[in-house]
């Protein structure tokens, strides 16, 4: 009902506007087209400067309203982010300056040089000096930006420091899986055809003749997690990025970093976090704050829900957390778990005791 009503009102408004417009056309014809054109011209010339002035005020106001909600309002959470932000500020100053000059000129000229009978337009088909000037100046400004930009680009995309913590990130519809190398600091091999319910990355845990795959012991201590990963404050992290199905993108807004996850073609990204999650929560006065991983590449109907979390913690907290993790291998082959090796005497008899043991002793 209310829909119907709204449509009726809109239709009515249209009709009225339309009628007024028609009427003004008849008036124009009666008044003389020349005269009414000149009147229109005055009105629109006035609107042009008004638009300029209101627009500039609007831009200021918009900035007041929303600046505080952007990332620029607080310190970037990574060392790289600082360079992104300072480069962004410089770019803003340069483009902002050009923006103001050109927009003011545009609307001011429109207003200032609106038609009058007094003025003869100036025949001015070209002027080489002017054209050279406004080719060269933008070229110089752009060169400056490119130089700064490329310095940052090579530093961001260059090799990660050798002490970096390595974490493998794998995207899938619609979530993230993380892998740490475990005690041996080596990621074991994996093959996508081995993926199943208990082996979400397809790690090579056993020989498989039909796939021509060998057991890779390096994979036995790899730790696999969903949804949340841990990294260490002030220590570079290198992400090894994969996808299990379609193209995703590891979006790390707070760290100003991003890299696609492409099935079959691994990519990498590294950064150095500056604040722990807790520090950030205090800084922002928001106890719910988390470093979120957003998927930034359209990956299907659940794209918007592909959320991951990065906890930045101190080295000490990290070690304690890591000590509580057990390799994924033991999830699939509980009998291989040394911490759960049944005592020979009770061996086959008491499986419930085994379960208790499994829960209580999550030793490394």
């Amino acid at each position: 009902m209310s829909t119907f009503f709204t449509i009726a009102v809109i239709a009515l408004v249209f009709l009225i506007i339309f009628q007024i417009a028609k009427a003004s056309e008849y008036v124009a014809v009666l008044k003389g087209e020349e005269k009414s054109r000149k009147e229109n011209n005055k009105v629109n010339g006035f609107f042009m400067v008004s638009f300029l002035i209101m627009g500039l005020i609007g831009i200021y106001w918009c900035n007041e309203l929303f600046y505080g909600k952007t990332l620029l309002a607080h310190d970037p959470a990574s060392v790289q982010g600082e360079r992104v932000d300072s480069m962004m500020r410089l770019t803003l100053v340069i483009t902002g300056f050009v923006f103001i000059i050109t927009q003011v000129a545009l609307f001011w000229f429109a207003y200032r040089y609106q038609e009058t009978d007094k003025r003869k337009p100036y025949f001015f088909p070209h002027n080489n000096t002017m054209e050279v000037i406004w080719t060269v100046i933008p070229a110089i400004a752009l060169t400056v930006l490119v130089v700064i930009g490329l310095r940052n680009w090579f530093s961001f995309t260059g090799e990660a420091p050798s002490n970096a913590l390595q974490v493998e990130v794998t995207g899938h519809q619609f979530g993230w899986t993380f892998r740490y190398a475990g005690n041996d600091n080596k990621f074991g091999k994996k093959y996508y055809k081995l993926i199943d319910a208990s082996n979400s990355l397809g790690l090579q845990w056993k020989d498989s003749a039909d796939l021509n795959i060998k057991d890779d012991p390096d994979s036995h201590d790899d730790i696999v997690l969903d949804a949340t990963m841990y990294v260490i404050k002030d220590k570079p992290v290198k992400l090894l990025i994969n996808s299990r199905d379609v193209v995703h993108d590891v979006g790390l807004t707070e760290f100003r970093m991003k890299q696609d996850a492409v099935p079959g073609t691994p990519t990498t990204l590294w950064f150095t976090p500056k604040f722990t999650t807790r520090e950030m929560q205090e800084k922002l006065n928001n106890p719910n704050f988390e470093y979120e991983i957003s998927c930034d590449q359209m990956c299907g109907n659940g794209h918007y829900s592909m959320r991951g979390v990065i906890k930045v913690v101190s080295q000490f907290e990290f070690d304690a957390w890591m000590a509580g993790q057990s390799p994924a291998y033991y999830g699939a082959y509980p009998d291989k778990d040394p911490s759960k090796k049944p005592l020979p005497a009770v061996a086959a008899a008491d499986s419930s005791a085994k379960k208790v043991a499994m829960v209580s002793s999550k030793a490394k």
């Binding site: 990332l71 050009v98 070209h126 070229a139 490329l150 379609v246 970093m257 957003s294 930034d296 359209m298």
Partner: protein, 607 residues
């Protein structure tokens, strides 16, 4: 029946001559409804067909955006009436479903980029203006020209039908990246919907190639006596470069699609490797590379944005000059910068791929070339500004849209400088900042160019005027609305808000813009309804508009205004006029304007 007779004056028109020997009068030959309005070979009628089909798509595409903005702006509201209209697949509990959201976003992007701003814009104005402004009776091949429209029409029909298939239309984004677009198990829209999308796009590519070749040949070979290349109006130059860009880049897109079709249907692995789909299992494909498609796509994709923009630039140059009553400033620099843009447009595609794992060194080359393209863009802006300077400006609705175009092009072009710098793009890529950038610089700006063209040449198309008051209302609300919609969107991008999200409510980092999203959606609806007002004006004026009574209502120099008010087939009843000068002798030697057909006076000043 057709205009072959008059085409005998042109060598290039010879292709289709043999078919019709019976008609040798220029006018008043009997035409049936079908040959005049449907299977017409008259470039002016074909232009109108492109225009009106484009308008239909603009309305559909616009409506789609209103629907998905409804979801973004009012995520908690329920609209049960939509459920009644659209059905359960699209709307559940009065809310747009995620699958519908993605289907709408994808179809909106595809049809606006290709069907509205490519076919609707350059299809319309290349067809309408090229023969009239270069002084030709028609296109080099009117028959291929007709085919070009009908391929576009069939593309439209197929695309439209994809909306009604059971699994929904394609919903993986207008860029259609595989593997998502290749695997129906990864997304329901990648099934039948994607088949139809691909067929429609293939037909579209054929249409644009037929059109483009025709435009190029006509401009190169059918110019009237005296119309040297350097006397061409800038509209023609821009349409020329547009056509060249299209002819060289659309085939690459098609090849990318063909490989995709092979992957989808014939078990090849061009783009597929190491894929495990939940619920289906591991796929056999190994060794392909998903990024290959992105290279092929953007090799068209970037030129495509200029295919959309250049015609608008050309028309704006012409309209600014005519209505400032003063020559375009720096004609040769304008042509030169068009040329530079056309070349560079082929050399920057990977700036859309900085975060795909691209080799950093390669990335740096693309940064350089991308920022280089800002130089010719800057030249154009400064030249437009100088054209206004010390003019005597008439604010026709066309002129207002042209000025609006310049403003939008500045605003959106400047953010291009942010994005072209890869170190910043890492952060901004695929956020709402991108959406703001390309809507302002391409979407709205080219739309403004198109409106400017429609308002300016409507009298030539239909022999009647559009209602000016409605034109002014249309302009101001659209102008203000466009900025209100897209300016604040930059801030969402600066907060890192990703694009193509159905809902932000689960995100701690992105949920702070609820109020803004609601505002944007509301403005979008108002702006959309004003476009309906424009359409009313358009169709009403075809039959009821004020009649054009003078041949050259704007005091314009170009050739189309030497043709009769309602030109018939062949455009000029007698001889095609001869050209003696460039198109921009306004305010020269104290004369308000000097049409191109006026011979040069020996005493005239040289410029």
């Amino acid at each position: 029946m057709s205009n072959e007779a008059v085409l005998h004056t042109n060598v290039e028109g010879a292709i289709t001559h043999d078919e019709h020997h019976d008609e040798h009068h220029e006018h008043h030959h009997h035409e049936t409804f079908i040959t005049k309005y449907v299977f017409s070979q008259d470039h002016k009628m074909i232009a109108k067909q492109f225009l009106i089909t484009g308008m239909v798509w603009a309305v559909l595409g616009g409506l789609m955006s209103v629907l998905f903005r409804l979801q973004l702006g009012y995520p908690d509201s329920h609209f049960p009436f939509l459920e009644n209209i659209l059905g359960k697949w699209w709307v559940q509990n009065g809310q747009i479903t995620a699958q519908a959201y993605y289907a709408l976003v994808t179809t909106h992007g595809t049809v606006l980029v290709f069907f509205v701003l490519t076919a609707g814009l350059s299809g319309t104005f290349a067809n309408f203006l090229i023969p009239l402004q270069v002084g030709a009776r028609d296109m080099a091949s009117p028959f291929l020209n007709m085919l070009s429209y009908w391929f576009f029409f069939s593309a439209s029909v197929v695309m439209l039908s994809s909306i009604f298939v059971e699994t929904g239309p394609f919903s993986g984004g207008w860029t259609a990246y595989p593997p998502l677009s290749a695997l129906k198990d990864a997304s329901p829209g990648s099934g039948t919907g994607m088949d139809l999308w691909l067929i429609a796009m293939a037909l579209f590519v054929v249409s644009s190639l037929l059109g483009g070749l025709n435009y190029i040949v006509t401009i190169l070979n059918l110019r009237t006596k005296g119309m040297s290349m350097t006397r061409l109006p800038l509209t023609i130059w821009s349409l020329f470069f547009t056509a060249v860009l299209g002819v060289l880049s659309f085939p690459v897109l098609l090849s990318g699609f063909i490989l995709l079709i092979f992957d989808r249907n014939f078990g090849t692995s061009f783009y597929l490797s190491d894929i495990y789909i939940s619920g289906v299992g591991a796929l056999p494909n190994e060794g392909g590379n998903a990024i290959l498609f992105q290279h092929l796509f953007w090799f068209l994709g970037h030129p495509e944005v200029y295919i959309i923009l250049l015609p608008a630039m050309g028309m704006v140059s012409e309209i600014l000059s005519v209505n400032s009553r003063k020559p375009i400033f720096g004609y040769m620099a304008m042509v030169g910068s068009l040329f530079a843009i056309a070349i560079l447009a082929f050399l920057v595609w990977a700036h859309h791929m900085f975060v795909t794992g691209l080799n950093p060194f390669l990335g740096s080359i693309f940064v350089l070339l991308t920022l280089l393209i800002a130089v010719p863009s800057a030249i154009k802006v400064f030249n437009w500004l100088t054209t206004l300077w010390r003019g005597n400006i008439r604010f026709t609705p066309a002129m207002m849209f042209a000025i609006g175009f310049v403003s939008l092009f500045i605003s959106g072009g400047l953010t291009g400088i942010w994005l072209g710098n890869s170190a910043l793009d890492i952060h901004l890529h695929d956020t709402m900042f991108i959406v703001a950038h390309f809507h302002i610089v391409m979407g709205v700006a080219s739309m403004f160019g198109m409106f400017a063209g429609i308002y300016h040449w409507y009298p030539k198309m239909y022999g009647r005027y559009l209602n000016n008051t409605l034109g002014y209302i249309h302009f101001w609300i659209t102008m203000v609305g466009a900025y209100l919609i897209f300016w604040p969107m930059h801030y969402e991008g600066l907060a890192g808000m990703p694009r193509r999200y159905y809902s932000y409510s689960a995100w701690e980092s992105f949920k702070q813009f609820g109020g803004l999203n609601q505002f944007i959606s509301t403005v979008a609806m108002i702006v959309f309804s004003v476009q309906i007002l424009f359409l009313l004006n358009f169709f009403y004026s075809i039959w009821k508009g004020r009649k054009v009574t003078t041949q050259n209502p704007y005091g314009s120099n170009t050739l189309e205004w030497t043709a009769p008010i309602r030109p018939g087939h062949g455009n000029w009843p007698g001889e095609i006029p001869e050209v003696h000068r460039w198109a921009y002798d306004y305010a020269k030697d104290g004369r308000e304007f000097i049409p191109q057909t006026t011979p040069v006076d020996p005493n005239e000043a040289n410029h």
